[in-house]
């Protein structure tokens, strides 16, 4: 009997068709048609994803094999999908949040010319297609195809307003930094092929194959994959592209640079959890890198004045939390945080889009203030987003963050301490943003003030839906300590992510940790209220200036890597190539020229000279002959 999941290929295929229709027809189609195609295909995929999710929940998984992508010698890389608990969950997030953001975009981008409107939606559909490929792929190569595909769409959408040179540079930067990670990812794939001869998840993670791998191999492979993840998921040292990526339209930031693409690294590691659990070194590296990134980005977010930049650094920081979870073995907590983060961060970005829309394009919060009166829905939903990310129960962020903090606590109190501190910073900078933007008095121009308005329904409805999800989304993972059998997510994912029950803490400890974090977060929010409710802009000094300039990391990279490479290129081009390499060739040419010029002098035209030469050479010839014969 055919599997009921036979139709899963439609889930990525529909957005691909949407991409083709809008991409090829962008000069001919009207905006409503483009919107319909763009949103309709994603909605259809979303409905199918729900159906797939229900099937998978019922215990039905499916590994369709379509054709052999590459088959060379013993190496076979099939074009195949893997529909299981993990991928079906990601399908829901991608198509669900993706659909809301598509709807939001129809209004947010309505001032664009039709051909650019079509271009925008075709890129967006192509992105969803690539992202679906990424999570549905049954082997590392298909995952990698999606992985680079989303990178491409990110590049195209960051540089969507291509007249702006700075935006184009940001787009290139994002692509190139991702490529650095991608190289490591590729080498990991090659290493797997060299050691196991396969890239399929089911075969690589099979116990017989894992037994063939030495610890060193596993460590190398997992570290390389993790380097790949630091590129895509914006971790130290490859995170600096993400804040620049805010050059793209705001819905893009919400979809790609908050909810979906940047979580690809977490997906990949969660998918490979069997491998990662076998290497303690890698686990430690992942945990510490994640924590360091979370802390670093949180400090930078304290001092940013661009509403989107704050959210961007907040995303980097939250991704750091997810890697901390992965590194401490709490894979489910990481996936849980991916989900809740998708809700509240998409909400916050879309909310900021609504603010920017109302402010006629202004993004600097120093010129905002008091927006709560004019933008009621945006104000309330943004507040919900802030509470959710700060982690106040029973909002979604509380449960997922609590799970991460708990796993950090089990690993080591130091990790826990730093993570808790970062969580406090999170609450502080988010509410700084919130209070500066929505409370106090308006600091913009009169014209902006006059123009202030709430966004249309196509924008506010997604906000409301995401706000609801941000409130209740955490209820799928209520810890055992609070409700028996409340942690449905762990149970659901257990076929993919095996649970190790070796480390548990007493329920009383858990209560204490929850209380502590909630209490401290509330303190930080109150502190932010007192400091920022009547905000007036002033010059940053000292440490504040360093933070405002993002610890000067971009400048350091520029001085240490970009400029020397350019100089080397110039040196090779202007000096080495011209003088040394070409010089040798031209030298040979000159030598021949010179020689022939000298030889030419011999041709004097006087018969006597020729005869003399002839005789002389004959003498030489005979002399040589004479000696050789001896």
């Amino acid at each position: 009997m055919q599997n009921a999941l036979q139709i899963v290929y439609l889930i990525p295929l529909l957005p691909l068709i949407g991409f083709l229709i809008n991409g090829l027809g962008r000069n001919y189609l009207s905006k409503p048609v483009i919107s319909l195609v763009g949103c309709g295909t994603i909605l259809a995929s979303f409905i199918l994803s729900i159906w797939v999710f229900i099937q998978v929940r019922g215990g039905n998984t499916f590994d369709p094999h379509y054709f052999n992508f590459i088959s060379v010698g013993k190496l076979v890389i099939p074009f195949a999908f893997k529909i299981d608990q993990l991928s079906s969950l990601f399908l829901l997030i991608i198509t669900g949040v993706g659909f809301l953001i598509h709807v939001y975009s129809t209004s947010y981008m309505h001032e664009e010319k039709p051909e650019h409107f079509g271009r925008y939606f075709s890129y967006l559909n192509l992105f969803v297609f690539s992202m679906l490929l990424l999570v549905m792929g049954a082997n590392f190569v298909i995952l990698f195809i999606g992985w680079e595909g989303v990178g491409l769409c990110s590049y195209l959408l960051i540089g969507y307003w291509f007249k702006n040179t700075a935006y184009n540079k940001a787009a290139s930067k994002a692509f190139i930094m991702n490529r650095i990670g991608d190289l490591a990812f590729l080498i990991a794939i090659f290493w797997l092929i060299a050691k196991l001869g396969t890239v399929s998840f089911s075969e690589v993670f099979a116990a017989t194959n894992l037994a063939k791998l030495k610890t060193l191999d596993i460590t190398v492979i997992t570290i390389l994959l993790f380097i790949g993840a630091t590129g895509k998921s914006a971790q130290i040292p490859l995170y600096t592209w993400l804040p620049d990526a805010m050059a793209g339209p705001t819905p893009v930031s919400a979809l790609i640079h908050a909810a979906t693409m940047v979580t690809a690294g977490i997906y990949m590691i969660a998918r490979s959890n069997v491998l990662y659990s076998m290497s303690h070194i890698t686990m430690d590296i992942v945990a510490y890198t994640g924590l360091a990134t979370a802390l670093l980005a949180a400090t930078i977010a304290l001092k940013q004045n661009d509403i989107k930049k704050v959210l961007a650094y907040s995303t980097v920081s939250q991704l750091g939390f997810m890697f901390l979870a992965l590194g401490t073995g709490a894979y489910v907590a990481a996936v849980f945080h991916v989900m809740t983060h998708a809700f509240f961060k998409a909400l916050l970005f879309l909310g900021s889009g609504s603010v920017i829309h109302a402010m006629s394009g202004e993004q600097d919060i120093r010129y905002m203030g008091g927006l709560s009166k004019k933008l009621k829905i945006t104000f309330i939903t943004f507040l919900i987003g802030c509470i959710a990310i700060a982690g106040i129960p029973p909002f979604s962020g509380f449960f997922s963050k609590d799970a991460i903090l708990l796993s950090a606590y089990i690993k080591s109190p130091v990790l826990y301490g730093i993570a808790l501190f970062t969580a406090m910073l999170t609450a502080f900078y988010m509410f700084r943003l919130f209070f500066i933007t929505f409370t106090g008095s308006f600091r913009g121009t009169e014209e902006q003030k006059h123009h202030l308005h709430e966004s249309p329904a196509a924008m506010t409805i997604p906000l409301v839906i995401l706000a609801v999800l941000s409130i209740i989304g955490g209820l799928v993972g209520v810890p055992e300590a609070i409700m028996h059998g409340g942690d449905k997510l762990t149970a659901f994912l257990s076929p993919v992510i095996a649970q190790h029950a070796e480390h548990t803490v007493a329920h009383s400890t858990e209560y204490m940790l929850m209380g502590l974090s909630t209490g401290l977060v509330i303190v930080m929010i109150i502190a932010a209220w007192f400091i920022f409710r009547n905000y007036q802009a002033k010059e940053a000094t000292g440490l504040g200036k360093v933070l405002e300039n993002k610890w000067y990391v971009d400048e350091i990279y520029d001085t240490l890597i970009v400029k020397p490479l350019k100089k080397l290129g110039s040196f090779l081009n202007d000096i080495f190539e011209k003088n040394v390499v070409d010089g040798m060739v031209n030298g040979v040419g000159k030598l021949v020229n010179y020689g022939s010029r000298q030889m030419r002098l011999l041709q004097s035209g006087q018969v006597g000279a020729y005869v003399l030469l002839m005789v002389l050479s004959m003498v030489v010839f005979f002399v040589i002959q004479f000696f050789i014969r001896k």
Binding site: T165, L183, L565, K566
Partner: protein, 495 residues
């Protein structure tokens, strides 16, 4: 039959072109000829799998032991197909480019195509050499007669380089000829003769012939003729040179070098792999700093060819299979890039990135094609180049050289640099704001759309379904890889 036709059609139509004085007519004639060749090539590829259609042998110079022996095997099918596809695309893309003495121009182009066909088909060393020269000579004239300002000096350099190479190759061929038992130029006799050579003799033959191929490819540091020639030659010729002709070098290694002197080729792999990789990085770094689009693409091509060369010396199935498909993909992609550059130069009068910008506004269709081809140039997955590069990199990592991991990493740096220089080119040419040069440009016309459309179609077809093309050459690849497998793991005979 097919094999002979592939040579005869361009050869005869080429000679005929000399006598068609009307420019429009000779243009159509050349296009017609190249389409017929393409038809023949496709017929051989798809319908006539029977060996009797694919090979042909008759007497040529019996006194010397040389015969007119041509055959289409997987490798030959692949490269003749590339040759056959390239020329119609080139002719369509440059449909609006004016040439003085157009009859001579197109005649020489077709003769060059015939020569390259012969190179890919010859199963006789002397015949191979004959076609090798036949392919080169029209190129000299095309560069020196229709090239840019510095054409004479550049053609001279090009000539010296390739001439030296050819000469060394001829010495190598004659040397081997003397070692054959039956004094024959046939490829089988050469294979047999190669097996009898001592290690020293193998080294000698290897270097004599390899230098010729290395210059043709080119491999660092023998590459300096290439940027100059690509820059100065008329773009149609540059397309033929870079799209098809540089593959003669790779092809020569696969057909005439590896099977004959496998021992020496195996030994020198440890030296030539790092050299190729150094060349890749070197060319990539230089490409980063180019302002002239033609020179940028030329250095990008050198970097890609460096990868092909590194792939050759992996000498294993994955690497060689990658080389096969990458030869085809590189040809397609670089012709696409040249079409874009040619159009830009014709419309704006400049190739300087610093003077361009904003073409995505004035020529949106061009920009779309440009971006897609650029992405193929940096081997994005689901474009054709990804398959080849993936297999080559995989081949390098799984090859048996001592420092394989570091080779892979070093070569991998070019993946990053490649993205950097290619995106920089796209950004500076297509994005940003228009200026007085690019502001008045109108979008591409039908002929360019057709040519670029074919290119893009091929990019995706091969990128998504590479397997048929891989199957085409798997037999050849396996047989070469097996030769090296035997060298790597010599079977100890029981006494």
């Amino acid at each position: 039959m097919i094999a002979v036709l592939l040579i005869l059609v361009p050869l005869l139509t080429g000679f005929a072109s000399f006598f068609i004085k009307n420019e429009k007519t000779v243009r159509s004639w050349a296009l017609f000829s190249s389409l017929v060749t393409l038809g023949v090539s496709l017929t051989g590829l798809i319908w006539l799998k029977d060996p009797k259609y694919l090979s042909h042998t008759c007497e040529w110079l019996p006194a010397l032991g040389s015969s007119f022996s041509v055959k289409l095997d997987g490798l030959g099918l692949l490269l003749t197909l590339l040759n056959a596809i390239s020329f119609p695309v080139i002719f369509i893309a440059t449909w609006n480019t004016p040439y003085r003495k157009a009859n001579n121009f197109f005649a020489l182009m077709l003769l060059g195509q015939a020569g390259m066909m012969g190179v890919f088909l010859a199963m006789d060393a002397l015949l191979f050499y004959f076609f090798w020269e036949l392919a080169l000579i029209p190129m000299y004239f095309l560069c020196s007669q229709w090239g840019g300002e510095k054409r004479i000096a550049v053609t001279f350099k090009f000539f010296i380089y390739t001439f030296v190479g050819s000469l060394l190759m001829l010495i190598g061929i004659l040397y081997l000829y003397n070692k054959t038992t039956s004094h024959s130029f046939s490829i089988q006799a050469f294979y047999d003769a190669g097996a009898t050579l001592s290690a020293k003799q193998q080294n000698l033959v290897f270097w004599l012939m390899f230098i010729a191929f290395a210059i043709k490819m080119p491999i660092f540091p023998l590459h300096t003729w290439q940027p100059d020639t690509y820059e100065q030659a008329p773009t149609a010729t540059t397309m033929a040179l870079s799209g098809v002709m540089v593959k003669m070098g790779v092809f020569g290694v696969l057909r005439w070098l590896f099977p004959i002197v496998s021992g020496a080729a195996f030994q020198w792999g440890d030296f030539l792999t790092p050299l190729s990789i150094i060349g890749m990085i070197y060319a990539s770094l230089i490409a980063l700093r180019q302002d002239d689009m033609k020179r940028l693409i030329a250095y990008s091509s050198i970097a890609h060819i460096g990868l092909l060369s590194a792939g050759l010396f992996t000498q294993n199935t994955s690497g060689l299979q990658g080389v096969m498909i990458q030869m085809f993909s590189h040809g397609i992609n670089i012709i696409g890039l040249w079409i874009v550059v040619e159009w830009i130069e014709r419309k704006t009068g400049t190739r300087k990135l610093s003077q361009l910008g904003g073409l995505a506004q004035t020529a949106p269709s061009l920009a779309v094609f440009f971006v897609i081809i650029a992405l193929a140039n940096i081997a994005l997955p689901l474009t054709n180049a990804f398959v080849g590069e993936f297999l080559i990199f995989n081949g390098i990592l799984s090859s048996y050289t001592q420092y394989y991991l570091w080779f892979t990493v070093m070569a991998g740096i070019c993946i990053i640099l490649g993205a950097a220089y290619t995106l920089r080119m796209v950004r500076k040419a297509a994005y940003g704001n228009t200026n007085e040069i690019t502001g008045a440009v109108t979008d591409i016309s039908l002929s360019e759309k057709v040519a670029l459309g074919i290119i893009v179609l091929l990019i995706f077809c091969i990128g998504v379904f590479p397997q048929p093309m891989l199957d085409l050459t798997s037999g050849v690849t396996e047989s070469i890889a097996n030769k090296f497998e035997v060298i790597r793991y010599p079977v100890v005979m029981p006494k």
